[in-house]
Every structure is written in C-alpha cells, then in structure tokens.
C-alpha cells in the first residue's frame, strides 16, 4: 500500500501517510493500522506531512487507533499536520485529545521510554 509506509525508530513505529484520507482510502488504512497494533506495535507516530486532505473518515483512523492503544497502554502521536488537516481536528474539538507535534523529531523525542 503506497499511501502507508512505515519506518522503525527504536520501539516507535513511524507511519508515514500520504494522499487523500477520504472514505475511499481510509478504511483500508484503518485495517492496516489495526494490523500493526495487533502485531505488537503500540508506540505509533503518524507523519501527516503528505496528507493533502482529511475528512471525518480519515479522522476515524486515528480515533480507532487511539482507542485500541489506550487499552494496551500504548502511545499515539501525530506530526507535521498541514493547516487544513489541523483545522479538521480543531473543528470537531479533537485537537486537545491528541499529542500533536510540529516535526517527526519533536514527536520522537516526546515518547516516554
């Protein structure tokens, strides 16, 4: 799946997403992220630099992962949100529920180990 590429940094899995996260693509990505968590990755960092569009279907990827990781005592962080992606999180009042960072490096440094 070219819209989702992962890279490991210690015990953190960086998930680089790209493209339009609308209903057409999001369900597939949600399944793929679920699989990552089921396979033992509980520290996830989503890099959204190349996400050009986010609808509520795309939001559900992060909500579903967050719910799952909460139960597993894992961590989820988001980095590199464009202004239009950030706007969606703000409008639905989810901005404070997620750990959001300006860069992947900042997000990586914030993981408690």
């Amino acid at each position: 799946m070219e819209e989702l590429v992962t890279k490991r940094e210690g015990d953190v899995l960086i998930v680089h997403l790209k493209g339009r996260l609308d209903v057409h693509l999001s369900l597939e990505i949600e399944y793929a992220v679920n699989e990552l968590i089921d396979n033992g990755d509980i520290n996830l960092l989503f890099d959204l630099e190349k996400v050009v569009y986010l609808s509520s279907s795309g939001l559900r990827i992060f909500i579903a992962a967050m719910r799952k990781l909460k139960d597993l005592k894992g961590q989820l962080k988001l980095a590199n949100l464009t202004s239009s992606v950030k706007k969606i999180f703000k409008v639905v009042e989810l901005i404070d529920l997620f750990d959001i960072y300006e860069s992947v490096d900042d997000a990586l440094a914030s993981f408690s180990r």
Binding site: V23, H24, S55, S57, M66, K70, K87, V91, V92, E93
Partner: protein
C-alpha cells in the same frame, strides 16, 4: 445552475469534490471557504453512500448547485433508505462526554462548515433531500 448525477461508489467522492471545487472557483469563492464547502459535500455524499445506500455502489446521487447574491446552495438527492439526521447540539454534547466515539464527526463538519443544513424525506419523489447553503463574499 449546475446539475450532475454520480453513482454511490466511494471512488466518486474525489470526483465530486473536484467538481464542487471548480464550481466554487467559478464563483470566485475565497480558498478557505472553498475548502469548507468541499469537505461538507464530501461528508454529505459519504453519509449517503454509507447510511442511505448501505454501501451499495449503484445508487444515484443527484447534486444541484445554485449560486447567486453571495450564496451557494447545494441540493443532494438520493433514493436510498430514509434516515433521520441527528441535531447538531446533541451530537456535539455526545462528543464532549465521550470524545473518542467513532461516528458523527461528518455531520458536525457539515454543520460547522455550512451556514444552513436541512434534511428531509420527499415522499412524492421518494427521495432523501439535503440542502446546504454557504454565504460568502468575493
């Protein structure tokens, strides 16, 4: 006035967004307002595809756009299952008490990004009809 009909396949969400964006551009709508309208329409057609047509990909969605005096009106019609649209106040309240619920964010975005959203079942046409309006300054 512009009118087009698309099938309820999720592949068409992008196409619909692109068409709406062009219409907004033709009206010289500011970029931030254009972005809001595209998202609201995306959420509306996604709801139709998932809830009204229950994932069927051969249902018709008719979209009519009218524009004049700084107002864009979009009317979306479908012949799927009739459903009731929850009120915005209730949705926002529910989200505040349990923020990580999965559904309902699309409706919140539609209401927040558009100035008017109304939804009804037309028993004569046997269609769900959604009307969304956005006022803007050029």
């Amino acid at each position: 006035m512009a009118k087009f009909v698309v099938l309820s396949s999720t592949e068409n969400v992008r196409l619909i967004g692109e068409k709406i964006e062009v219409l907004c551009l033709e009206q010289s709508m500011p970029p931030n307002i254009r972005e809001d309208v595209v998202i609201a329409v995306d959420e509306a057609v996604t709801n139709i595809m998932i809830h009204s047509y229950n994932g069927r990909e051969d249902g018709e969605i008719e979209i009519t756009c009218r524009c004049g005096s700084g107002e864009l009106e979009l009317q979306l019609e479908d012949s799927g299952t009739s459903f009731t649209m929850p009120r915005l106040e209730g949705l926002v309240e529910r989200k505040r008490s349990n923020a990580l619920t999965r559904g309902g964010y699309g409706l919140i975005l539609m209401h927040k990004f558009m100035d008017d959203v109304s939804f009804f079942w037309n028993s004569e046409k046997e269609k769900n009809i959604l009307v969304m309006k956005k006022r803007f300054r050029v």
